[in-house]
Symmetry: C2
């Protein structure tokens, strides 16, 4: 059996009939036209459904907002790249010479895409059930220790809920400056928690991002403050 | 058999074991806490994978960008609401009294969500294959007549490709004004096709949108011009 086949049997618990499909899934576009981009399109949907099904069953009381946030954290590029590294997928990648020289085997985005493509290939060569077995295996520890929902909420939501929990009014956000050309705007926003005499600032390429950063700093101050008191 | 069961057998080609799951899928949140929101979360992923699989097979030469655009057109809210209307899903919806009075049975968003939830219920009560049979049935005409890829590209891409096809340089976009407060910006953009002495303008709440509108108008002028010449 070729090394890819052994690797799939070990990590995906699946034996490919058409190893050409697995080889295609491991081929980056820099290495030729018969690459993994179409398989990645399919694999992204395969992963989405199988993770959704697991979360639906594992969290019977979570609303769809919570389920969506947990799913997003499990299928995001950085999580996929971590898993790809855990199963040594980089060693099997076929890259063009340019990508090889610049260390493409360790490129997060290339690894994440290839992992999705491999899952798409498992689904196509095998079945929904084969892809599910593979995903349950490579995601085992992450599905057993699902992320804390609280940590997945955005900073503005968490700040508002923290203040609400203390019976305080919500923070105010004020744009203090906008600079830069139209295609490279830089927003500066102040977040004011007047009831606590607290003001933080945040920067970002959009108003929303600048607000999130300012809210994140306010949350840090509120939380650290608590720790130093208690 | 209850009316919902008959309806599912006719339109989804599926006989539910647990009709309570089908009833839940038809229950809008206005009618109680045992509603269809979690099933919609699941159904959205079920539909995504099954449509992806069909497109992957039906368009063996399409790149992932084309596949994504076609999929988006097939699973968008308005397409789902059209299909829901075709299979008379509105007649079976359970709505709260407020939604009933305001005509919620015909609300596009409520219909689209309920259709996804029904597909999620078919997957859960049955299997991946059961959901696939249901989707192939309700999407039959749309999968036989896949949308023209050309019509799905955004206006800027189509304009650029049209000019390129005539050996002309790409258009230029220039922001001519930005007005309004930070939370309600209004951009005005000019699209210039110098080689044809053409200039159009577009407005929008972002630079990107304003550019798309300006490009859309330039395309209309180019296309209508051709028709009047030929």
């Amino acid at each position: 059996m070729k090394p890819q086949g052994d690797w799939a049997a070990e990590h995906l618990r699946y034996k490919f009939s058409a190893t050409s499909l697995l080889e295609q899934a491991l081929t980056h576009r820099s290495a030729g036209s018969n690459n993994n981009e179409r398989l990645e399109f399919l694999g992204d949907s395969v992963l989405g459904l199988i993770v959704s099904e697991q979360l639906y069953q594992a969290r019977p009381r979570a609303d769809e907002g919570s389920l969506s946030r947990i799913r997003a954290s499990l299928v995001k590029r950085s999580t996929l790249a971590e898993i790809a590294a855990e199963i040594q997928l980089g060693d099997l990648l076929r890259l063009g010479s340019g990508e090889l020289k610049s260390g493409g085997q360790g490129n997060q985005s290339i690894l994440a895409d290839a992992l999705e493509a491999v899952l798409g290939a498992t689904f196509l060569d095998g079945s929904y059930q084969a892809a599910k077995t593979a995903i349950l295996n490579i995601y085992a520890s992450r599905l057993e220790n699902l992320p804390d929902e609280e940590s997945l909420k955005d900073s503005k939501t968490r700040l508002q809920e923290t203040l609400q929990g203390r019976g305080l009014p919500p923070p105010e956000y004020v744009v203090s400056s906008v600079s830069g050309a139209a295609h490279a705007r830089e927003f500066q926003v102040a977040c004011r928690v007047q009831s606590m005499g607290l003001e933080t600032t945040g920067q970002g390429t959009s108003r929303r991002l600048a607000e999130q950063h300012a809210a994140g700093r306010a949350l840090e101050l509120l939380t650290n403050g608590e720790e130093s008191i208690s």
